[in-house]
Symmetry: C2
Subunit: 255 residues, 2 copies
């Protein structure tokens, strides 16, 4: 397929590379910042543009991979070309595009991307929504060229997925950060915790989290929890987080 | 070495297997519950006992791997044999043993163990403390026979490690659980989140968590956070957790 990328952030970068590797042709890469567009376009052997009036209409699909707030205005500007348009946002309903064109869809990769780390796209869950059957079928076919993990997910479900991803990814990473800070404060190396972090995640690749919960809270080990809260006396915010999450785990253990 | 295991839980099971595989001889396995002792002893080709008066004194080391609350009373009963004693608890100071014998130490594997999943012990961080130099040296030598990741850690530091492990392991697993429950409630498969969970953990194997934080909070994307809080209207407890952790991440982003 001939594909045009609108955006040059983490999702556009990883998705663009996966599409290119699967044999698709990237026509143009648009970014407000021409340098960013040029950098990604160079890797994808595409044309870089920083002005939507320079869009090449000879494309099969526009992929809008910008920040959520500008999807609407971008869609308004590219809809006149009458080509299929998808966005890649977990939090944005398909309606944002449907206002401008019936050829609307969503192509949401449920993964955390950062420029510093390669991702094996074949394992990335791709959540697909099309405004009508042929659009869905086209997006599914495209999705399977880059991933083995493709699902149809409507806008209401995608909202839940996006929320759940905050609990499964963003919040755990923050807790890794608090652990690393605690260690640093006591001159302990974060390497001591890295195998534990990986094992904790690997466990739930096959088990359900409820079956592998460990620690003082699930044992209702009050003495250890009190000792931990005492160690956090100069960190009232962490104390609060410790108590709230421990109470929730105690409750979970009792259900 | 000739080693006696007091306890038959997750730590005793995995540690016993690693020691046995490294060529050590497991003399006895003690558990209050003879069936549990027998099951582990069978795998380790050791003798099972459920009475500490049946202890075979012909051993080089007692490893107490019980729940924290009974370490003290076990130590009192085996100290008269005048053999080195270690416990494997993150939360318990070496003093609990020193009350009874100078040949005291700690052998703390910083990992989460469950009977359902094999662990590669060579990557498990072993945190060693000896009451005196020769004891430390002996424990270090033993530790290196089963792991490549051995550190000297005193009782005060070990307390911090144990606390940090709650933030790095127990709390993230609880958040995986909440994510899984959200998905289940909306008939979405937890498999959609599993690659994200693994990638989030794998990232911090090489990066510092602060450098790979993603999500609406670190972007201070108020609109998305408000929408997420709205989706949790019938889950006030999760709402509270969402708000507390998001505020903490916003603060972290501003430092």
């Amino acid at each position: 397929m001939r594909i045009t990328l609108i955006g040059s952030g983490n999702v556009a970068t990883h998705l663009g590379a996966a599409l290119k590797n699967a044999g698709h042709y990237i026509v143009q890469v648009y970014s407000r910042n021409l340098q960013n567009a040029a950098l990604l376009a160079y890797h994808l052997k595409a044309e870089a543009i920083d002005d939507l009036s320079l869009i090449n209409a000879d494309t099969d699909l526009f992929i809008i991979s910008t920040s959520d707030g500008v999807i609407d205005s971008v869609a308004a500007q590219i809809a006149p070309y009458q080509k299929p348009i998808v966005h890649t946002s977990g939090a944005t309903p398909i309606q944002v595009l449907l206002k401008y064109t019936e050829h609307s869809g969503v192509f949401y990769p449920l993964q955390t991307f950062s420029k510093v780390k390669e991702v094996n796209f074949r394992t990335v869950p791709l959540c697909i929504e099309g405004a009508y059957e042929d659009m869905t079928a086209m997006l599914k076919e495209l999705a399977f060229t880059i991933s083995n993990n493709v699902s149809e997910v409507n806008s209401a479900q995608r909202k839940i997925l996006h929320l759940a991803a905050v609990f499964a990814c963003n919040f755990p990473n923050y807790l890794y950060y608090t652990a690393q800070q605690l260690l640093a404060k006591h001159e302990l190396n974060f390497n001591l915790l890295r195998p534990l972090i990986l094992e904790t995640a690997e466990k739930v690749e096959v088990q359900l989290p409820a079956n592998v919960q460990t620690g003082p809270a699930v044992r209702n080990d009050v003495k250890t929890m009190e000792s931990h809260v005492g160690l956090l006396n100069d960190e009232p915010e962490l104390q609060h987080i410790y108590e709230l999450l421990s109470q929730a785990i105690i409750k979970m253990g009792n259900t």
